[in-house]
């Protein structure tokens, strides 16, 4: 095959047509999966909301109020309703104070603004150190499998996160107390602990400051 036989327009045409075909196919698939992808993302949010809110029957993912905390961070509040009645709020904030990047914290709040449950929905902390604060992971062991599978319902416990339950945000941030009686921080992961604490505080405080607005819902 010498250089002479090369037909440049033909090559261009072939590749062009092929690429166009590919693009067409992809647009088709992209449009047809678009709704499924959206649903999948929504499901993710709903799953998270389901963990922090009491049982609800609306779609809190569609009823959102965005407020600013006193630090200027945007806090997203999802409103949980049952039979139309507001039964709780879920506040979500992204804090940049994480050890290695942003941490997304979601807090379920009672109507009076006290903390119900805290979960961390996204983080890039050091596995084993930072993630000890952030993860609520059920560790199945082989024993559980052997014993047979009654699944434990509800959230996996995390002492650091559970510490906030029933607390109300004061005017000052929670101080990190390491390994004392009040456990909300962990040696070796002070930064993560502080970041999570700060985020919970920001959500709680914003909630308290805007209880009236929140109680009206997003309408």
């Amino acid at each position: 095959m010498g250089a002479q036989e090369i037909n440049i327009p033909k090559l261009g045409l072939f590749l062009g047509v092929l690429a166009a075909l590919a693009a067409g196919l992809l647009s088709f698939i992209s449009t047809s999966t678009a709704s499924a992808i959206k649903l999948n993302l929504q499901a993710k949010t709903n799953r998270a909301l389901g963990q922090v809110l009491p049982e609800f029957d609306n779609t809190p993912g569609e009823e959102i109020i965005t407020l600013r905390s006193d630090l200027g961070w945007p806090v997203k509040f999802y409103i949980g309703r049952k039979s139309g009645e507001i039964i709780g709020y879920a506040g979500e904030v992204i804090t940049p104070e994480g050890f290695s990047g942003d941490i997304t914290v979601m807090v379920g709040l009672e109507l009076d603004g006290s903390v119900r449950t805290v979960i961390v929905t996204a983080n890039t902390e050091t596995p084993g150190l930072g993630t000890a604060i952030t993860d609520r992971k059920v560790q199945k062991t082989i024993m559980d499998l052997i014993k047979g599978g009654e699944q434990v319902a509800g959230l996996a416990p995390n002492t650091y996160l559970d510490w906030y339950a029933d607390k109300k945000a004061g005017s000052d941030r929670w101080n990190i107390v390491k390994e004392g009686s009040a456990v909300n921080g962990k040696t070796g992961a002070t930064i993560t602990s502080r970041a999570v604490g700060g985020a919970v505080h920001a959500i709680g405080k914003t909630c308290l400051a805007n209880l009236i607005q929140l109680s009206k819902g997003a309408e």
């Binding site: 992809l26 698939i29 560790q139």
Partner: protein, 223 residues
């Protein structure tokens, strides 16, 4: 070669990871747990089969000079499809964990390598078998690696703790250095097997090695 051979060679004899040493990036990056390895392996296998089928279909009409770009376009298309489908239907945790490496299946040397070395020369049926075998081999290797790393890190497999007393995770294994080291140990294991085999059969032994030639890319991208 018989059809079964086309299928089985990818599983062990020509295993893409452990023998051919192709597609190292996803191999190392996503094998921090057995589950991730499985996900990546299956995704790659889908792309591999899809591209093998199409390439084998159009093999006679592709102008030789542009066959590599053509293959790449085909592969990229399949990768995007897999990406979109996973986004839509796979568990979000898995999709998040595999992250950037799904698009990177495009440049996984195995996929292109099989398209060039096999599908472009063989019929559709054989190409499917080849893709399936290679893909399963890849998946197998990834799961093995992921499983080993997961076990050494925390004594668990597929997120099930096998040794309940193991409380502190050995993070080295799930970190980047651990990936390299464990893969190195795997290759050494393969070498040890081959040495023993060579001794038994009194043939010469060559260590598994990756050099420019393994992926054939140089030869393929003719100027």
């Amino acid at each position: 070669m018989s059809a079964t051979k086309e299928f089985t060679k990818g599983l062990w004899k020509d295993n893409s990871v452990l023998v051919l040493l192709l597609g190292m990036c996803p191999t190392l990056a996503v094998t921090s747990s057995a589950t991730n390895g499985l996900g990546m392996g299956v995704a790659t296998m889908c792309v591999l089969m899809g591209s093998n089928i199409v390439v084998s279909f159009i093999r006679s009409i592709v102008p030789k000079k542009i066959r590599i770009p053509v293959y790449i376009v085909i592969i990229a298309t399949f990768v995007t499809i897999v990406d979109l489908l996973m986004q839509a239907y796979a568990p979000t945790a898995l999709y998040d964990a595999l992250g950037i490496f799904i698009p990177l299946i495009v440049v996984n040397c195995i996929v292109l390598g099989r398209a060039e070395a096999f599908a472009s020369k063989n019929g559709v049926g054989k190409s499917i078998l080849d893709g399936l075998g290679m893909g399963l081999g890849f998946t197998f290797a990834l799961v093995a690696l992921g499983g080993t790393r997961e076990f050494l890190a925390s004594g668990s497999l597929f997120e099930v703790k096998l040794i309940p007393g193991w409380t502190t995770d050995f993070m080295l294994m799930t970190s980047a250095p651990g990936a390299f080291i464990i893969l190195g140990l795997f290759l050494a294991g393969m070498n040890a097997l081959n040495i023993r085999k060579a001794k038994r059969e009194r043939t010469s032994y060559k260590p598994a090695g990756l050099d420019c030639n393994s992926c054939n890319i140089c030869d393929m991208t003719e100027k």
